[in-house]
């Protein structure tokens, strides 16, 4: 609650994202603003470096420390590199949580994962399996080799595919498109070249899934090579509607920004400690329970297909 004191100073909550110019994070920012408006005395600030580097994020955190903001929620470019500076921020009395792409324990109080890592990895495998009838060669097209959340999901996928129902499927390769359209496209084409019998690609990154869909379309492989991954509905609408991509998943970035802001606001107000077991009243998201080591899960990734894509494309 914010109406305890009539202080003119609003609580400053910063959403620090990986980089600017990404539709996903723009939607996160919308969620932050929505929560701030509901909470009333909160000012939601959206920031990010101009390119996705940990060094750039550190620079921003240093200035946030200097202006004594109240809380920072970070989608981290590196789980480890930010720890010293976030520790410094916490020492200066700033509450720090991470969301989406998390900081390792010790560098934040709460880590809000959009979904459970295992859940995401398993779901990705299931989505591609459904698309290619549980058989054939599968490859993964990731972002950069250093993207931690991607790497965690890939590790789960490698395990998940060993399950008996996937016995006719084989994970043949993991390649990296560095979140650049041209490189991702080239890597996708390289996969078709290297594996003439390729049945499907999983690309758990918005740039990758888009570029791979385009490559499949251009090479005339629609229907032969399936694609799924994590993509933004507004960006993938074309390929889902024309059937290149049968289905894909994503959590709601608006909710992510919304929940992060709520959690931080509650922590700053002293409503909760931010410790395991705390229950956060997060507005329309209901109650969120903070798990062990501060790790918290927002919900299940949502699956998009021909039927529902148009509805969500207008939101994020």
């Amino acid at each position: 609650g914010g109406d305890k004191a009539a202080d003119a100073e609003k609580t400053k909550i910063v959403l620090l994202v990986k980089s600017l110019g990404n539709g996903f994070f723009e939607a996160v920012a919308d969620g932050g603003v929505e929560a701030a408006e509901e909470l009333g005395n909160v000012e939601s600030i959206y920031m990010g470096p101009s390119s996705a580097t940990a060094e750039g994020q550190i620079e921003i955190i240093e200035t946030l420390i200097a202006q004594k903001v109240d809380g920072i929620a970070i989608s981290a470019n590196d789980p480890d590199a930010l720890i010293p500076v976030t520790k410094k921020a916490m020492k200066a009395g700033i509450r720090v949580i991470s969301f989406d792409s998390n900081i390792s324990s010790g560098g934040r109080e709460v880590a809000l994962a959009p979904s459970d890592t295992n859940l995401i990895g398993q779901q990705q495998v299931k989505l591609i399996a459904e698309l290619c009838d549980y058989k054939g060669e599968i490859a993964i097209l990731s972002a950069t080799a250093q993207a931690t959340n991607q790497n965690a999901w890939i590790a789960v996928m490698k395990e998940a595919i060993k399950a008996p129902e996937y016995k006719d499927m084989k994970l043949v390769d993991v390649v990296y498109g560095d979140d650049a359209a041209d490189k991702s496209y080239r890597e996708a084409v390289g996969l078709f070249e290297k594996y003439p019998n390729l049945a499907g690609i999983i690309s758990p990154t918005t740039v990758g899934v888009l570029a791979a869909s385009k490559a499949i379309e251009d090479e005339g492989l629609k229907g032969k090579v399936q694609i799924t991954g994590l993509g933004l509905p507004s960006e993938m609408q074309h390929y889902i509607e024309n059937g290149t991509c049968g289905q894909m998943a994503l959590w709601n970035p608006v909710d992510l920004g919304y929940s992060s802001t709520y959690i931080l606001a509650r922590m700053i107000a002293g409503d909760i400690e931010g410790k395991a077991g705390d229950k956060v009243d997060a507005g329309r998201m209901g109650s969120i329970t903070i798990g062990p080591d501060g790790e918290t899960i927002m919900g299940e990734p949502f699956v998009f297909n021909k039927d529902n894509i148009a509805k969500y494309a207008s939101i994020f």
Binding site: G21, E26, S50, S51, V174, V207, K214, Q237
Partner: protein
């Protein structure tokens, strides 16, 4: 070898042909399908944009300058045109292409004006505009992307269709090559570029205006980036803020491999095209050869470096032969 061909291909270019052959053999040994006709067509098509932009970069480097803003110019013009396409789906693609070229031309002209009339060195100007143009791309798009759903079929088909058995994008590159070749070899302005880059005092003495030439090369480079912006966004069906990030280094690398002197005054278009193709082969081969993806960056660096070293060594040997033969 045929004398005429030898004249067209200077020593350096012959060397590069040789190096490219070695590279192709090495790749084919690991991935036999690489040399298939379809794949070669694909490599050329994939390199088409690099060829366009690198030929603009060539002009700038010939004057002794460098254009570090090409990536940002591509991003801005690509984004602007994609948004035009998004909000006015009825606008004909010819108009869109022309607008793309126009926008690129204006950005290039800004660079050119700073260099020619403001006497700001090219590196500083374009280091600055590299940030400025990319920043404005963000401001223009408000951080959003334009993707396939917002683009018209016609727009996405600009580079995609086929004509005369070749993909449109390849044809665009060939047309750019022919025009640039004609411009460089058969017009006064084209030759004046070499004059300014070769010897500024001498150029001044024969009435070549350094200002005009500097302004011109940046403007042309910008125009080609504008065209490339349209091609890029249409080809990948996505206009994003990070389009062509770091592309400037690729164009410079194509020039360096093609034997263009960074001091200005020396270099040929054919060399640059071959340099670009060499890079295109590496880019397309790396995903195909069976190597850990973590080795890609190192191998790319190694191959580029090795090619540059081999090129230089072969040339030094040629020079020695030339000298020894001169006076018996």
């Amino acid at each position: 070898m045929n004398k005429k061909l030898e004249k067209i291909l200077q020593n350096r270019e012959l060397n590069l042909v040789l190096l490219t052959a070695v590279l192709l053999i090495a790749v084919t040994l690991r991935a036999p399908s690489f040399l298939a006709l379809k794949n070669i067509e694909r490599i050329v098509n994939d390199t088409a944009i690099l060829i366009m932009v690198a030929s603009g970069q060539l002009l700038v480097i010939l004057t002794g300058g460098i254009d570090l803003s090409v990536g940002a110019t591509i991003a801005f013009s690509g984004m602007a045109v994609s948004m035009l396409n998004q909000y006015n789906p009825s606008m004909p693609v010819v108009v869109l292409i022309l607008l793309g070229v126009l926008i690129g031309t204006l950005l290039g002209a800004f660079n050119g004006a700073c260099v020619a009339f403001g006497k700001v060195p090219p590196v500083i100007t374009t280091l600055g505009t590299m940030s400025i143009f990319r920043g404005f791309t963000f401001v223009l798009s408000k951080g959003q992307w334009v993707t396939a759903h917002e683009m018209t079929e016609a727009y996405m088909n600009i580079p995609k269709g086929k004509m005369l058995l070749l993909p449109n994008l390849t044809i665009w590159a060939i047309v750019v090559f022919i025009i640039m070749f004609y411009f460089i070899r058969y017009t006064r302005s084209g030759r004046e570029i070499y004059a300014v880059g070769g010897n500024k005092t001498a150029a001044h003495f024969v009435g070549v205006s350094e200002k005009k030439v500097n302004f011109m090369v940046f403007t042309i480079a910008g125009a080609l980036c504008g065209l490339a912006g349209v091609m890029w966004t249409a080809r990948y069906a996505a206009a994003v803020n990070e389009t062509a990030l770091g592309f400037e280094l690729q164009t410079v690398a194509a020039c360096v491999l093609g034997g263009v002197s960074l001091a200005g005054g020396a270099g040929t278009l054919t060399g640059v095209v071959m340099g670009a193709l060499f890079l295109g082969i590496i880019n397309n081969a790396l995903p195909v050869v069976n190597l850990s993806p973590f080795f890609q960056m190192g191998i790319q660096g190694f191959v580029v470096l090795a090619a540059i070293v081999a090129n230089v060594l072969m040339e030094q040997r040629n020079d020695k032969k030339l000298l020894a033969g001169r006076r018996r």
